[in-house]
Every structure is written in C-alpha cells, then in structure tokens.
C-alpha cells in the first residue's frame, strides 16, 4: 500500500543522508522524496512516498525515522484528509500545426501551462496528484514524442487543523 510520510528534521549537513541511509539499510522502499527548508530555515520538511506491505512495517518505519537524533516529528498523511501535489515538467516534440494544436488542447484540459517553446519543442508544466500526472503523460505520449520528463516527487500536507510543527 502506498503511504506518504512527512518528516520534520534539523536542517543540518548529513540529515538527508541519515534518512536515505535508514531506508536503504532496513530494506524500505522510497518511491519519491522531496526536501527543502521551512519558513524556519533551521528545519527541513521532507515528504517521502513509500510502498509498504502492512501496517506493522509502516509503524516500524515511522519509529525508525523518529529514532534518528535529528528528527523532530513524523506523521503519515494518507490515513487522514490531506492534499498532495506533484510538479511535472514535460518536454515534447511536435511536428506540424495540427500536432501542436493537440498538445495545447490537451495541456489546457489538464490545466497545464506551456512554459517554454522552440520551433519543434513544447515544455509543459503541470501540478496535481500523481495519478493525474500519469494520465497526462500517457495522453501526451499518444499525440507527441516525449523528449524529456522530470517530476518533483510528492509534497503533502494535512487538511484542517492538523499540522506538523516543531
């Protein structure tokens, strides 16, 4: 089952390596990982998406994260209402006005933005949940040639009053 774990961690050299090392060392799987400083730049916020076989593994993973001396808070997002977003940048090759029109139309339908253009290349920016990005990529693959793709990994936050603070 897919799970999203949020981690609040000291923004110090080596902190990220400790988290990544923990996952490698204990055989946990990382599907995506995003990290950046918070408004308090002594702290970093991480969002890790992972695939676990059961709740016991998830619980152990969260306890192991919390055991790291640098880690302040750990929480899991998917079991409560939450917002998750991912950013996609997609570069596609289009030949001819018709194909170009199709790319533009599809981007509009998905509420993507074209952020760069050359003679034959369109670069499209799209945000949303991972499944939306997957669907968009599949559609674009049909109407154009995908040249390059980059995804940010998931960022997530709980809805409502719940918050992850120091």
């Amino acid at each position: 089952m897919r799970r999203i774990i949020s981690v609040l961690i000291e923004n110090e050299s080596g902190s990220l390596a400790r988290v990544v090392g923990l996952f490698a060392q204990r055989g946990y799987n990382i599907e995506s990982l995003t990290v950046s400083p918070t408004n308090d730049n002594t702290l970093s916020r991480m969002t890790i998406t992972t695939d676990v076989v059961d709740n016991a593994t998830l619980e152990q993973m969260m306890k192991q994260l919390h055991k790291l001396v640098d880690v302040l808070r750990v929480s899991e997002l998917t079991q409560t209402p939450h917002v998750e977003r991912e950013l996609l940048l997609l570069k596609v090759r289009t030949v001819g006005p018709e194909a170009r029109e199709e790319v533009k139309r599809t981007s509009d339908i998905y509420r993507g933005q074209i952020v760069d253009i050359t003679q034959n290349l369109y670069t499209i920016q799209l945000t949303g949940a991972g499944s939306k990005l997957d669907a968009f990529v599949a559609t674009m693959d049909e109407c154009s040639e995908i040249v390059e793709i980059v995804r940010s990994g998931v960022c997530g936050i709980a809805r409502g009053d719940k918050s992850l603070r120091a």
Partner: protein
C-alpha cells in the same frame, strides 16, 4: 575567558566531561590533539596495536562500569579500523564517543592522503555523528556526543575533527557547556501510567508467567528492581546472553539463559507460558527461533526504552516505552500501594511444571579419560575465582559454554559481543575491564580462532602491565563452524580447521607474559589457581579440549522455542 586551540579544546572538553581513560592510536591528522594530551595530567591514554582493539577496550570499559568509553584515532585507516568495534558497541547499545581525525577542511573531497568520509562510513552503525568545521564547534559537539551516547538507548557517537580545526596556533574562547538540550531528542524514561496499571494486573493475573530479562536491564541498572519483582511474585526468570548477571545466576528462581543455546527449562517455560514479560530484551532471532511458532499461548508485555524494539520481531500486546529501572519501580510501587498479588496455587503449579523440566538436567555432560571437556574448564574457572571474576569472551563455542556454566552473580560481570558476534573482542575487552577494575580478577575466555584476531594486544598488555588472565579453550578448529558443518553440512569441514595454531606459551613468553599449557584434567585446577595468584602478570592458559564436543542444548532450525537438540543423539519431540 580562557583562550584555547581546537586541539586543546578537545582535551579540555574530555577532562570537563570527567574522562580519565582514553584508548587510541596517533597519526598525522590528530598530532595536535596528541600533543595536547601529552601536556595533560588528567587523562591517561592507552596506545593499542590496532584501532579495533581501542574501541573494544573502551566498549568493555563502559560495559563494566556504566561510564562512556572514549576513543581517539587518526583519519582514514585509523578511523575505518574502528568500524567493527563501533558496530559491536552499536549492536549491544554501548555508549562510546569515538574521536577521529580528518584531513583539513580545505582538502575534504579532494581524495587527500588518508581521507575517508568517516561520517558516511560509520553512519549505519552509530547512534549519531558530528563533524566539527570550526574550533568553536568542538566543546558543544563533545558535550552533545556524550549526552546522546549515554542517554535513551545508548550507543556510539562519532566526532570527525579536521586537522585545521585543531590548529594549535589559533586560539578561541573556551567554555564547556553545563547542560545540553536537543529539541529533536527527548528519550522517554517513565512508563505511561495506564500501561503500568494494565501491566501489573496482567502480571498478577498470569498463571504461567516468565520474566525475560535482557541487556537493557543491565544498561538501565535495574537489577534491584528485577530481583524485587521476581521475588515478590515468585516469578521464574530467564536471561538473554546479554542479560546474564542482571538476575543472580545461582538464585532458585533463575531458570537459565534462553534461546539458541538456552536451557531446556528456560525454552520450555517460554514456549508454554501464558505471559511473557520482556524487560530490556528485544526478541532477537537467537532467542525466538521461528517467530511463527513463538510462544503460541503467551500474552507479550514489553518494556523497552527504544520504541523501535517494541513489536519489531514479535507483536507486543502490552508495550511500555521507558527505562526498565523506572518502569519496574513504578510497577513495584503500584503493587505495594494496591497489595496486588498473584495466586500462589497457580504459581506453585507452574513451578512444579518448571521443576520437572529442570530435572532433565540439560547441562549435564559426560566426561572422558582422554580429553578435557570445555564445560569442565568453565566449572573449574568458576571454582577457582569463586564466581567473582569479570569474564569477557570472544565468539563461538567457548562463549556459549562460558554463558552456560559460569553463573554470574551480578550485572556487568559478563562482557561479550552478543549482537554483532565479533571475534577478537575478548582480549581487548578484558584489558578495558582490568583498567577500570584493577583490583578485580579479569579473565578472557577465548578460542583458538578468536584469540588470533586481536592477539597483537599482548603487546599493549606488556606496555601498560594490564594483568589479565587469558583462558584459551583450544580445540584446534573453529568449533562452532565445525559443529554446524557436522550437523547440517554432511560433516564437510570446509575451512574450519586451524592447521597452524601457534605455540601460545612461546608466543606469550615472547611478549614477556607467562604461558601455561594444560593437556590433562589434573593440570587444570593448579594452572588456573596459579594464573589468578600471579596478580601482576598476564597469564595465558592454553587448555587442550576435546575437539569433538558440541554445544547443547541447541534449538532446531525453523522450530519453536521448545524444539531442541539435547545431545548428539537426543532431540525433543518435534
């Protein structure tokens, strides 16, 4: 404010932390710190012959005293040689601070001479690590390192010290922090009150309880509470390999070590219990055997200071996060307050059953005329030392035999590498214990494989006159490997022989120590008596033992706890 260089700050911070002994080896990137040590009267430094031994010495110094062990080594190979020692301490939750030199900050990343990313290399086997990028970082890093190493679930902490940061020419204001607080690190000590209540009521309600006590009880100094609780409720107590000594080995309620080479009665009691109360033990695979068949009728209560240890291998029905000492005291107080008591009829019936298992006398063994049995050697050691020695061991058959046949009276008396199973631990460990306890007899029980993994430390013993006794159970083979090959690999002894075991008596004499060879049982007791009478000398007692002897009981692979081989010919009913 006093002005000190980075190198001086290292030494002063250690002094201010109360460090009296440090183990290490100098080299290019720590020369400034060694120069500062030279000028200090308060810290005694022991020069080893290999850095791994320095870590084991500091580790055993810590295990035998409860203080934090301290190591100083140079960059590159000096640091990487420590890794096995650090991993050993990590697996057994031993507090250490390892100071390792590093190339100057302006060379880091350039593959400079003796550059190794020690922070990276050690990461999976440390509790935490610090890299000091300025001299002013040093006192804070050292203070935090000792705090982190010794609190919560203890463990090793590495501090990386680049050479330019130590520069004796640059002086900075020095102040050692009085206290430390980390917003991200607050170990839980006392147990949740509701859980304490539930634990007491489960414990007094149990008809077939077992107190399963591990190394955490020793680290938390909880022996007094374990004894009080056990005696109050007349509970049977079993210890893990790491927990031996947490409960008196000769106490009537002690049913022996449990697990792979545990006693018949301990493993039977566990399997048939209705309540298992784990105190500072972590359901290691060497205890549980097959987890799917583990103690089918037992409710599991588990105290541990480390939440990750709870429900990791075996689901805990009643988890309590906290220090074993504090939580057991909370339970004892509640029992006193409420006069909670278990049903003595139930407990007596349980003891009748346990005593029936005990009557099997699973540690009985046959002596023979031609060979000395390893069990005889440990029993003789117990007799000669009156059970009062600090015993360290290496890893293998001799370790298990020592654990089974030397009933430890008190905590911190049995020093072995349980989690990591590090051969070569025993001799430096004995030296670390002797330095901490100069007036107590200290013996290293070892094998002919293990002793050769750190035998160079006989030279350190000579330099500092560290008079330990080395008791070698010499079977001219890697006994435990051979036992498995005989039992499970059709007897094919692939590389488990030692065709070139040296003459250990001559070797000891080469280091100016005393070597005694024992070939017959009649020579054994006089040799051991003499070894412990020569209080000022290292004595190496090389005992030729029966090379065919196996360690029993032994759990059957993939079985439950109660499935055991009891001898070469006898096995419990499957």
């Amino acid at each position: 404010m006093e002005m000190l260089s980075g190198a001086e700050m290292v030494v002063r911070s250690l002094q201010d932390e109360g460090i009296e002994h440090i183990f290490g080896y100098p080299g290019g990137s720590v020369l400034d710190i060694y120069d500062a040590i030279f000028q200090s009267d308060e810290i005694e430094h022991f020069l080893v012959r290999h850095e791994q031994a320095a870590v084991h010495m500091a580790d055993a110094y810590s295990r035998s005293t409860g203080k934090v062990g301290c190591v100083l080594v140079t960059a590159g190979p000096g640091a990487t040689n420590c890794i096995t020692g650090i991993a050993t301490a990590y697996m057994d939750s031993i507090p250490l601070v390892v100071l390792s030199g590093q190339v100057p900050t302006f060379w880091i990343g350039d593959d400079a001479f003796q550059e190794t990313d020690m922070i990276g290399v050690s990461r999976p086997v440390v509790k935490h690590s610090f890299s000091c990028r300025t001299a002013e970082d040093i006192p804070k890093a050292i203070k935090k390192a000792f705090y982190i190493a010794s609190t919560g679930r203890p463990g090793p902490v590495v501090i990386d010290l680049p050479k330019d940061v130590q520069n004796p020419l640059n002086k900075f204001p020095y102040e050692y922090p009085e206290s430390v607080s980390l917003r991200s690190y607050n170990p839980t000590l006392s147990g949740h009150k509701g859980q304490i209540k539930r634990a007491v009521s489960a414990l007094v309600g149990a008809k077939k309880p077992v107190l399963y006590v591990g190394g955490g009880a020793i680290i938390a100094n909880a022996s007094k509470q374990v004894l009080q609780l056990a005696e109050k409720l007349n509970l049977p107590v079993t210890n893990t390999l790491m927990g031996l000594g947490a409960f008196p080995g000769e106490h009537e309620q002690f049913i022996g070590m449990l697990g792979m080479h545990g006693t018949y009665e301990a493993n039977k009691s566990m399997h048939n219990a209705d309540l298992i109360f784990a105190c500072g033990a972590r359901f290691d695979d060497r205890v549980t055997n097959n987890v799917d068949k583990f103690c089918p009728n037992a409710k599991i209560m588990h105290i541990d200071i480390d939440p990750t240890s709870i429900s990791k291998n075996i689901h805990a029905d009643l988890p309590i996060v906290g220090s074993v000492e504090v939580v057991l005291q909370q339970m004892l107080d509640l029992i006193d307050e409420t006069n909670a008591m278990n049903d003595s009829n139930d407990i007596n019936a349980w003891w009748d059953q346990i005593n029936e298992w005990r009557a099997k006398d699973c540690l009985a063994y046959k002596t023979c005329d031609t060979h000395i049995k390893p069990q005889q050697v440990i029993e003789c050691l117990y007799k000669v030392t009156k059970g009062d020695a600090i015993v360290t061991s290496d890893v293998g058959q001799h370790q298990m035999v020592a654990a089974q046949y030397y009933p430890f009276k008190e905590p911190r008396q049995w020093i072995n590498s349980g989690g990591a199973g590090t051969m070569g631990f025993g001799l430096p460990a004995a030296m670390g214990c002797k330095i901490a306890h100069p007036d107590r007899p200290v013996v290293c029980v070892t094998g002919d494989g293990s002793i050769q993994m750190n035998i160079q430390e006989l030279s350190t013993c000579m330099q500092y006159n560290i008079p330990v006794v080395i008791l070698l159970l010499n079977n001219r083979s890697l006994g435990m490997v051979k036992q498995w090959q005989k039992m499970f690999y059709g007897g094919r002894q692939s590389h488990s022989y030692m065709d070139s075991v040296p003459d250990f008596v001559k070797l000891s004499e080469a280091y100016n120590h005393i070597g005694i060879k024992v070939d017959t049982i009649d020579e054994l007791e006089p040799a051991l008596t003499r070894a412990f009478e020569l209080k000022e000398r290292v004595v190496f007692v090389d005992v030729a033992i029966d090379p065919e002897e196996h360690v029993y009981p032994m759990q059957v692979k993939f079985g439950s706890m109660e499935d055991m081989y009891l001898s070469k010919t006898e096995q419990t009913d499957a």
